[in-house]
């Protein structure tokens, strides 16, 4: 099977042929033309993660991102509302803001010709306005100012946007999967989260989907992480069982749990590519308790509700395609595809507002141990993704197997809970992928 001579753009049937119920063709990871289409169709029509509202607490605070090749600006207005604007001056197209984050005051001002905008993107003025008298300026695109993204939703501080004008609504798109974000926010005695400092930024020389799939891949830890977590286990071996484990040991050891552990953990699959592992318990279940925090939670929520919140121990929740959430340890990873074989993963540490500092220190350590470009666990994973990226060049076999625990009934009724080592979450991601890539009218040329 080869890509169509004119590429996949005009050939929906060829795209459909890439995804079988239980396998996918390697082109989905390697074909640059398909990557272009993913940006235009899948990433443009999905609800993608922009940032967290705690990053822009005050009027004029902004945070810039690039999503689906679009320069975007999240900004807090003078009215207190949060907006997402296309970060492009209405005049000659300069990015209006190029810093990663900051405060722009009451107006956005272009650095080139000094056009200014109010924080909702409306054009306020430009120097020597009289030069436009008698021209067709008022009827032009420029008169509209900076284009706002119309579909923005904030859920428990998490800001999502859908760039396409038409598509699924926010709650229709995420459905019950939002319970993972709820659980994460509920872990704060005040019900509120804050981004704590800078993200770890890890450049992956592999396709973005390998990362997303891996988050609910429970058949790899005991193999890929034998080198890192296994080394930690071996160094700790022989200690008395009642000796308190250092936090680093406590965080590493569960990665080399056995197959039965990961299978019984369970995986829950939702429509539109979302899923989480750790339905019953997870690698985060056996951390040492922090008594002061437990008391705070009981006071805030009552004993029963506090127990229910902290009893959840979800492993990774995938908010397809752009965000993965680890509620039990308060870290999130943001997926920013750059090219077909290049992906930036940004890992943020979250502070549970009102919780003791020990919680944040535990999250900061976990993020560094597991998600940093300097992390041994990260090295294990990225080595595997890169091996796949290079191996897929092989013409000996063009198909990637996703058969584990597949059933033909799955096509219609995959949503639900499955055994933890099933590849059902990946099959669900590719169903969502295929739907977006072959939907009519999802081309991302019209932000209006």
């Amino acid at each position: 099977m080869a890509a169509p001579p004119g590429g996949y753009r005009q050939d929906g049937a060829a795209i459909r042929a890439l995804v079988r119920g239980d396998a996918v063709h390697r082109d989905v990871y390697t074909d640059p033309g398909l990557f272009d289409l993913e940006m235009e169709r899948l990433w443009y029509s999905a609800w993608v993660y922009i940032g967290h509202d705690s990053q822009v607490p005050n009027a004029g605070d902004f945070y810039t991102v690039n999503v689906a090749r679009q320069p975007l600006l999240m900004v807090r207005g003078t009215d207190g509302n949060l907006r997402v604007l296309f970060n492009r001056c209405a005049h000659k197209g300069a990015k209006v803001v190029s810093a990663n984050a900051g405060n722009c005051g009451k107006l956005l001002r272009c650095s080139y010709h000094g056009w200014t905008y109010t924080l909702d993107g409306a054009l306020r003025t430009m120097p020597v306005k009289s030069g436009y008298a008698g021209t067709r300026f008022a009827e032009s695109e420029a008169a509209h100012g900076m284009t706002a993204v119309l579909n923005v939703a904030v859920h428990r501080g998490f800001v999502f946007a859908r760039l396409s004008r038409s598509g699924l609504g926010f709650h229709e798109y995420f459905g019950e999967s939002l319970s993972s974000i709820d659980n994460l926010a509920d872990r704060s005695p005040l019900g509120r989260l804050e981004v704590a400092g800078a993200p770890l930024r890890y450049l992956h020389n592999s396709n973005w989907k390998m990362f997303v799939e891996n988050l609910n891949d429970t058949m790899h830890p005991m193999v890929a992480h034998e080198s890192s977590a296994g080394t930690a286990r071996d160094l700790w071996a022989g200690r008395p069982p009642d000796e308190p484990k250092p936090m680093v040991i406590e965080q590493f050891l569960p990665f080399v749990s056995n197959y039965e552990f990961f299978d019984k953990m369970g995986v829950k699959v939702y429509d539109h590519g979302h899923s989480y592992t750790g339905v019953n318990f997870s690698i985060h279940s056996s951390y040492s308790p922090i008594p002061e925090y437990a008391e705070q939670m009981q006071q805030a929520y009552g004993a029963e509700r506090a127990r229910a919140i902290l009893g959840e121990s979800r492993h990774n929740t995938v908010y397809y395609p752009s965000l993965t959430v680890k509620g039990a340890i308060q870290t999130i990873r943001v997926v920013r595809p750059i090219a077909v074989d290049k992906t930036l993963i940004e890992s943020f540490t979250l502070r549970l507002a009102g919780a003791p500092p020990a919680l944040l220190e535990r999250s900061a350590m976990y993020n560094r141990l597991i998600n940093a470009p300097t992390s041994v666990v990260g090295h294990d994973d990225l080595y595997c993704y890169r091996a796949v990226q290079e191996g897929l060049a092989s013409n000996g076999n063009e198909w990637v197997s996703l058969h584990r625990n597949h059933s033909d009934r799955e096509q219609g009724e995959a949503a639900g809970t499955h055994n933890g080592t099933s590849e059902v979450s990946m099959r669900g991601q590719f169903r969502a992928w295929l739907a977006a890539m072959t939907a009519c009218g999802t081309a991302g040329t019209d932000p209006k």
Partner: protein, 159 residues
């Protein structure tokens, strides 16, 4: 009694050389029992552990890293990485005779190489060296990487 400048400076050169030559057990022994190897993630990042870092290793974590490099199942090192420090002359910035510690500043370049890919890093290393009858030990090595906040590929050895 704090060692003289020449001995302190020689110690910093020696530390870099041990890493480059992969003499990791000898390198590990340079660290005090409470020693710390720290690389902040943000420019001007404050002390403490409320902000995450690129490295923040106590001796246990250093040991895990060193043993992992030797583990035959460390596939990311199947084709081994190599590194090279290029140090500007270290300077003794301050001494604290009561605690027997000295603080040295060393601008550096650091190259890490693996399988046709070579990465170049630069920054400033700060050594807090503690002197005792047993010799000089590293209480803290703080590495301020120039591009600490950049999107980085895998960094597998020790700047």
């Amino acid at each position: 009694m704090i060692a003289n400048d020449a001995a302190l400076i020689e110690f910093v050169y020696h530390e870099a050389r041990l890493i480059d030559e992969k003499r990791f057990d000898e390198w590990y022994d340079l660290y005090a029992d409470d020693g710390r190897y720290w690389m902040p993630l943000a420019h001007g990042q404050p002390e403490g552990r409320a902000h995450t870092s690129l490295f923040d290793e106590d001796k246990l974590l250093l040991k895990i890293r060193i043993e992992r490099l030797r583990n035959p199942k460390s596939y990311s090192q199947a084709q081994p990485s190599w590194c090279q420090h290029i140090l500007q002359a270290p300077k003794v910035e301050s001494r604290d005779p009561e605690l027997n510690v000295a603080w040295l500043r060393t601008p550096f370049m650091y190259l890490e190489y693996q399988q046709d890919q070579q990465e170049v890093y630069a920054g400033v290393a700060w050594h807090r060296l503690r002197c005792s009858g047993a010799g000089i030990a590293i209480a803290l090595k703080k590495i301020e990487l120039l591009n600490c906040d950049a999107a980085l590929p895998s960094l597998q050895l020790f700047p």
